[in-house]
């Protein structure tokens, strides 16, 4: 869950990392409060990457230009998100732009430092060097310094980057962040470092001990489509897609496999909907309600292979849901796993058919809703 630049910078600052002194505004009129420090940078505040390339950062030379820029930025969309705030900052003189990040690295089994001597958008051409050290106690400034040696000639910059990396690690563990990236990290004329941008990704799983993360999660959910908001509120994992086949599944891998099978059969999934985090009658009922209520969904495929989720219970739940259901959208069921034989019997007795394989389920679906 990515924080906006301004939230990320505030966080960095609260741990002693220098950032420019900026002002957050909500509309073009508020730009006047910025006073008269020009040239200035005016930047769209959004929760996804790639903003710079998408024209989300503008340099303005005077108040009129700033107001116009603000109006322009507030009208843009970035990965589907309209910015609700803008950050204005002095345009800072600097001698170099570096790239520095602290992130999670599966191969290192923990944390990694990424560094590139040429930051900004140039970092895409010259990938950063990586120092994966695993657990925080295993971070070694001197090892990072050695790694920096071949790519960073300026010993003074090296020392400051090493100290900054240590700080980013402290921040990541304190706030449960999975990424703390500064790009660009400016070298000022006096040699000091200043974070010109900040990309902080919070670990949603830590919301139970990080109220700030819980609050960010609430904000992030509000940005989702209404259907997804309702799914998440009911503890179902949902990602909205633009197809017309509602997929009710369990487990991330099985849900993706179902999506892929639909796509390969020429059908288009309307969603990624993983009910394994709430495999209860209420959870499945919500799943049906959402898909039955969504106009573009033409049919529903229930595809569940349960281990801990006992599918005889799922069958009973489906029996009850189907009995009370008013929607006429076709439903194809294919469940397997723990309790499968009892599940077959339950569905059979309820007049429902449990497809033996995903392939047969897809055939039934194609029969019900032929692909265009």
């Amino acid at each position: 869950m990515m924080m906006t630049e301004h939230a990320g910078k505030s966080l960095l600052l609260s741990y002693g990392v220098p950032v420019p002194h900026g002002l957050l505004v909500r509309n073009a009129a508020q730009v006047r409060r910025w006073g008269d420090v020009y040239p200035a940078a005016i930047k769209a505040q959004v929760s996804s990457g790639g903003r710079g390339k998408a024209g989300g950062v503008l340099r303005v030379a005077h108040p009129q230009e700033a107001a116009a820029a603000a109006q322009r930025l507030l009208a843009l969309e970035f990965a589907g998100e309209r910015p609700s705030t803008l950050l204005i900052e002095p345009w800072i003189e600097h001698t170099r732009e570096l790239y520095l990040a602290l992130t999670i690295d599966g191969e290192a089994g923990g944390y990694s430092v990424l560094y590139a001597p040429a930051g900004g958008i140039e970092v895409e051409d010259n990938p950063p060097i990586r120092y994966g050290f695993g657990e925080p106690a295993d971070f070694r400034a001197h090892v990072l310094r050695d790694r920096l040696g071949p790519v960073e000639q300026d010993a003074g910059v090296r020392e400051r980057v090493v100290a900054m990396a240590r700080r980013l690690l402290f921040i990541a563990t304190s706030v449960d962040a999975t990424t703390v990236e500064i790009n660009p990290l400016a070298v000022l004329p006096d040699g000091k470092l200043l974070a010109l941008d900040a990309k902080v990704v919070l670990d949603e799983a830590a919301a139970f001990r990080q109220a700030a993360t819980a609050a960010e999660r609430v904000k992030a959910r509000r940005r989702e489509p209404r259907m997804v908001q309702r799914a998440l509120a009911g503890n179902l994992m949902m990602v909205a897609l633009d197809g017309d086949i509602g997929l009710i599944s369990g487990g991330a891998g099985m849900t993706m496999a179902g999506m892929d099978m639909l796509a390969a059969a020429g059908l288009k999934p309307a969603c990624f909907l993983d009910c394994s985090s709430n495999p209860t009658p209420a959870g499945y009922q919500l799943a049906f309600d959402l898909l039955d209520g969504e106009r573009r969904v033409k049919a529903i495929l229930v595809s569940i292979f349960g281990g801990g989720t006992q599918v005889d219970r799922v069958a009973k739940t489906l029996e009850a849901i189907m009995a009370a259901r008013r929607s006429r959208k076709p439903v194809v069921i294919r469940i397997n796993g723990t309790g499968r034989e009892r599940a077959d019997a339950i569905l059979r007795d309820a007049g429902l058919y449990n497809q033996p394989t995903l392939e047969s389920a897809l055939e039934a679906m194609i029969a019900a809703v032929p692909p265009r």
Partner: protein, 288 residues
Amino acid sequence: MSVLIDASSRMLIYGIAGNFGRFSARDLVASGSTVVAGVAPGRGEAAVEGIPVFMDARTACRSTDASAAIVYVPAPAALDAVLEVLDAGCKVVVYPGDGLPVQDAIALRSAARRCGATLVGPNTPGLISPGKAKLGFMPSHCFIPGPLGVVSRSGSLSYEAAWRLTSAGLGQSCAIGIGGDPVKGLNAAEAIELLHADPETQVIIYLGEIGGSDEYALARYAARAGAKPTAALIVGAAAPAGKKMGHAAALVGSALDSQAAKVEALRAAGVHVADTLRNLVPAARAAL
């Protein structure tokens, strides 16, 4: 010993008194695993499903010689519970829970290594050596003994895959759910090495997905001299970029995260790759 567990493994269920713990106790006993102890701190029960219940893992292990554990506690309690079973001497520990903060996963991975133990998980159904032992909650009927060593990032997908393989007569030496989180107690590279070293495993079947870099560990393995034959299924072709697909690590952030890139890298390394479930059995047969 098969991989990590076998018929001689003496197992402990931490959190046996909860609903899922009870279900799992029944299921494990029914699967033929030797469950010798349960732990339920703060509960007063003497036994669950005929398994003696202890107040802490150390007493449980001392009293029963348990040396493998599965831990059913919610994520906020996982760090402490897994440290407890590690301290008690368990050498194979499964933590199936999802929603574990990455920071805690990192701490547990390190703690397990310091104890000379193997942590499987988080976010995994556990592992099974068909016909010998199971430490997890995958549906046993999907698995039969055989020559395929299975590594999977996803629980449910591994059941479906195993059921297809089993239905086709292709049995498994072992199936390890490494879990869908970015930091794992046992990662893909390490799981593959275990299967590589296992004499009963002839072919390695890998079930992967978008995001993360575990699949590239398989590619590196497959390309090296003396590697066992490999087959793989990589799901997530239909997933849009920039969206997390359930698993914490299942997100296409960069080009290397995509299903297409992974399939290409694996094929280049000589892995028999299925791009959907439909092709899994043929790919496995090709590798055999």
